[in-house]
Symmetry: C2
Subunit: 691 residues, 2 copies
């Protein structure tokens, strides 16, 4: 009947508007029950549970058996890690798998059978789940004694498939692969030709004194290849050439040629290629988001225009304002936007909305949220007004910066003077007294600023929040120090008391003061630009960081499985060193370029076996070469965009924009045309449009 | 009188045309004598003498007293370097100075007194000469015993001032400095804040076992600063964090934060800034070259139009074709261009040329030199035609590549098998026989190709020239081997005879074969693109390389002066190591990033004094940070340009363009307008145009 139909159409419109807001695809089932399921699936609770499950299953690696989560990394000192009994982590895992099974079923149902077969990600998801569950059963049936557990390597896939941004980025990276492969091939050719050259050049001679180079670096093909590969990462440079160089300087020409060609040209060529490929990446992704938004809004319009209450017009379809109001009431969206749209709907005062008008109403969604600071309080007294002027003036802020700098310098002086003193000789009086004075000044500054600006205005500036928070923490620390150790006086050197020693307290206070000094950043124009660029970059990098986590997780798990027990405490320094690094990789895997650097150095001195070599070379290629280059490409892209538009913005710098990637590109984006939108809508697998 | 005037005008036009061809400025004196001097000064001989002088004065450093030009760099073994007697190098130097004095006088005279005062480069040139001559006199009057000789550091200036491209590049770099300084400031802030943090974090404790980190890396302010600075170059990573890390894993957070912020963000920000500044650099420089060319041609036109024989026209000025022919006859230019211009002049068959026609005639100068390969010989016999078809076919070339690959593989196999054998056990028969066979094949291939293509066509392809030359060298080597050692037979292991042992001969042959394998490059599309980009880059980089040479020369000379005798052979390995590097810097200074890397590592272990630290840090900043970033910026610029236009060119790939930077940008260049040209011409200090 008509009423139920109307309800359905309203619900469809609500879901399409929500899709538009979240930049989601609208290709899902649109019958009543599916819509309810769809809204429930994308509700905050559901998505939060899913994220939690992914976090839990990834975090399991830290408590599972060959984990290395101990305070020290030194194999000689560390206590054995806690081993959970068999079945504990496994049951948590099973719970997670059940959530994933529910997730994949709902997702598959919602996009429909026909679409399901086209969606490779969903198929892979199901396959991963099947493999993981099988592996889980095998593992339990052998009561956890099987050390090879494939499901652990597969885990990051769950993270990957849950983020559309990461999937998009991966696709982008994938399209760059052929060109990257060409450069890597070129590098391989470079490496192999030079290896042959090196083996011919540094061949074994009759005089054993003369062939040090051969003995250490070029004894056979794998050795030579490794030496030169490591030279490419610059880890063993110039050690590798010293023996030859001290025999004859001319040998250095070989190494110079190799490094210049390999490091300067080919490696940077990789940067150029990746940058070239990613130049349009951000723009393209923002463009496709825009298309999704326009499509969702258009779909809502089309659905609403088929409502029975609308008078059928031959030429154009219209939507009644009442229906739209109903939809807006039901849709979940930012309340500021909702109010703005309702307001403009009232202002327009037209009963029937055309498609263009409908789209125009929703342009509010694309607009900057201009942040208005609350007004300063208005004081009646003349004296208070003067005070307000004085302490609200920027110069008062500059004075604060100068005081902070003075504090930093005083700490620095004390540090230099005390550098070589024994802890027992140290006198904390001077530093204690000075810090006490400075913290009092900070407190005063904060209070005066609050007086001048009012608490709400004060808190609306991020720099003030940063400042105030640190001041309060410093105050609390200082008060608790005095409560425990009394006021500072000459020879103030009490013994250890309470949670922290006085010395630790003073150090903590000093660190916070150094950290507080960062408040000067917004006052320096170039620095502010750099910092905002970096913050933007961090936002845009989330997808890349996610992929990096996926890769590192897989590598770390593989590494743990490969090298479990391979490193034993021999009392030998270099072995411990290596152990330090191996752990290191697991925990702070993103510490990449540098960590690998040394691993490769170890490669060159043949501490580890051939398999480990292949593992580390793969890791170096992915983490150091490809990821760092991707990062540089994104940084270049972001920075150049920012730089070009710095001039535009400077006049508006008072207003703080909550800038998003979408807004950054707004003036270069192309609006999708009516035809494109309608064509896409007609391709919708579940929605039958009447016309 | 009119005849002499006409001669003068013709000569002026000739010089202006030559200026246009060489992209030189036309702001010089234009009277008859000056013109003669100008043409003489810019004649090949004169410029060649000047370049030679610059080379000689720069090369003097290799033979002057504290030089290190010996075969080995090991201080324990090397013989004392040859010390020229006092007065020898000095007299060569004086000769050079005299040439420079002549150079600067001619240059100053030619641009005229008024212009001279505006030209800071010329003033600096004169100043440098005065300082150098004074220093020379002081040095000689103390009979070469003064070790501080400023003139040696000033020498690279002579190289710098002689190249307009280098001066332009320097100006460009100069304009980037403020922004680079901002980032360097940011880096300094980053470094100092983290140093304070580190000193507070890794303070001395009561337990001596626990403060290894403090003892080794953070003992006092300079130590801490150095440790973190070196961490920024990644040279001492992760050594610097191992003691702290093995105490508590959480300490690694500090180092990770420092490295991510410093290395990933700030360092790459520097790349972004430099790239952003240099994005337009090439285009701008090419644009200004184009302006100079058009200006020179226009000036020639204006001068010729005042010739008496031309009928004075009120509206427009014209140039007679005869006068132009006379000018072209006299001007020194590429004969191909000259012929083409004369041909189009005849074709146009107009007696009077307007300014636009005049410019159009000279457009031939901007055109690509399309290289036409000579035709293949036409054989009468049917059999020969078949042969020609077979051996001229690309597949024959591919076969050659396959054979070369087979040869490489066979050498590789022998190398792997012989890797661990003693020289006395080695049997050269197998390799000798195989190489003999392959070289015969190469000879045959070359001859057949010459047969099919004809000698002239064969030689017109660079890949064939490369191929043929190597084949001939290989043949000569092989023949001389057989002449000395006889034909290979099992157990072919003759003793040392003649200039080279058999083993050395075989090695040399093998290296050449490996080198010859590079002939496959043009057959692989992507590789060909990369190689042409690199070759282009090398052309565009000449100016940068020149500046690099200047900087390195100054650094090397300063280094020699600072550290002369500072490193003595102690029998201690690390000292010799350092010595190895110090020399190294002098000779192969462009081996920068890597060399410094280790020097900085040495810094961190406090092998060298504070002055050396400052010297090396400055060197690292300039050579590694700034220069590498400049290089990356240029590479990105070049590569992206090439990449974008790859599609256009692909259809034309058969024709080999002699591509220059000017041609690369031709479709984006703007032609200067008539008004700009005339305005510039009227500002000419020496040329009085009648109208």
């Amino acid at each position: 009947d008509a009423g139920a139909d109307n309800d359905l159409y309203i619900n469809q419109a609500v879901v399409f508007i929500e899709d538009a807001i979240q930049y989601r695809s609208i290709n899902h089932r649109v019958d009543s029950k599916s819509l309810w399921l769809y809204r429930w699936y994308y509700s905050r609770t559901c998505q939060w549970i899913l994220s939690l499950t992914i976090t839990v299953i990834l975090a399991l690696a830290f408590v599972e058996e060959p984990s290395s989560l101990t305070v020290t990394s030194d194999v000689r000192y560390r206590l054995p890690a806690w081993n959970p009994p068999c079945g504990l982590t496994e049951s948590v895992e099973l719970l997670c798998f059940l959530v994933f099974v529910a997730d994949v079923s709902v997702k598959s149902y919602l996009i429909g059978w026909k679409e399901f077969w086209k969606n490779k990600w969903l198929m892979a998801y199901i396959l991963t789940l099947i493999v993981s569950l099988t592996d889980w059963i095998v593992s339990l049936s052998f009561s956890c004694t099987v050390s090879l557990r494939i499901r652990r390597i597969l885990r990051p896939f769950f993270l990957l498939q849950n983020s559309s941004m990461m999937k998009k980025t991966l696709k982008s990276i994938n399209s760059t692969l052929p060109e990257m492969a060409s450069v890597v091939l070129l590098l391989a050719l470079h490496l192999s030709l030079f290896t042959m050259f090196a083996m011919l050049l540094f061949a074994r001679t009759k005089d054993n004194q003369q062939d040090k180079e051969w003995v250490v670096y070029f004894r056979n093909l794998p050795d030579s290849l490794t030496s030169l590969l490591v030279l490419l990462t610059a880890a063993n440079n110039p050690d590798v050439m010293i023996p030859a160089y001290s025999k004859n300087r001319a040998y250095s020409i070989f190494f110079i040629l190799f490094t210049v060609l390999g490091n300067l040209f080919l490696m940077n060529l990789l940067t150029a290629i990746i940058y070239n490929q990613f130049r349009g990446y951000l723009l393209k992704s923002v463009q496709s988001s825009l298309f999704r938004r326009r499509l969702g809004i258009r779909a809502a319009f089309e659905v609403l225009s088929t409502l029975k209450e609308t008078p059928a017009s031959a030429q154009q379809s219209y939507v009644s304002a009442g229906a739209l109001q109903q939809v807006l009431q039901k849709a979940e969206m930012d309340s500021r936007c909702k109010q703005a749209i309702l307001r403009s709907l009232k202002m327009c005062s037209c009963d029937q909305l055309s498609a263009a008008q409908f789209q125009k109403l929703f342009e509010e969604l694309d607009k900057d949220a201009i942040k208005q600071h609350p007004p300063s309080p208005e004081y009646q007294s003349h004296f208070m007004q003067k005070l307000q002027f004085a302490f609200g003036h920027p110069y008062f802020g500059y004075l604060g910066n100068v005081v902070a700098l003075a504090n930093i310098i005083s700490i620095c002086v004390v540090l230099v003077m005390d550098a070589d003193k024994q802890p027992s000789e140290r006198d904390d009086f001077f530093l204690g007294a000075i810090n006490c004075f400075f913290i009092l000044y900070y407190l005063l500054e904060m209070l005066l600023k609050i007086l001048a600006m009012g608490l709400r205005r004060y808190l609306s500036y991020p720099s003030n929040r940063f400042d105030g928070l640190l001041t309060v923490i410093l105050l609390i620390l200082e008060i608790s120090t005095f409560a425990v150790y009394g006021f500072p006086h000459p020879g103030w050197r009490p013994e250890f008391m309470g949670l922290l020693s006085l010395w630790d307290m003073v150090r903590l206070v000093n660190m916070l003061i150094v950290f507080r000094f960062l408040r000067i950043i917004p006052n320096m124009k170039f620095m502010a630009l750099v910092v905002t660029t970096l913050l933007d970059l961090v936002k845009n990098l989330r997808a890349f960081a996610g992929i990096l986590v996926v890769v590192f997780y897989a590598f770390a798990i593989t590494g743990i499985m490969l090298f479990k027990g391979a490193v034993v405490p021999l009392g030998n320094n270099s072995i411990i060193y290596f152990k330090g690094k191996c752990d290191f990789m697991v925990i702070s895997a993103h510490f990449q370029a540098e960590g690998v650097h040394c691993l490769l150095y170890l490669l060159s001195v043949n501490l580890i076996c051939r398999w480990a070599k292949i593992y580390f070379v793969a890791w170096w290629l992915i983490s150091s070469v490809i990821w760092v280059n991707l990062f540089v490409a994104l940084l270049l892209e972001n920075f150049i965009h920012k730089w070009d538009r710095r001039c535009h913005r400077e006049s508006l710098s008072d207003i703080e924009y909550q800038r998003t990637v979408e807004l950054m590109f707004r003036d270069v984006l192309e609006e999708p045309t009516e035809e494109e939108l309608m064509e896409k809508l007609h391709q919708h697998p579940h929605l039958q449009l009447c016309r």
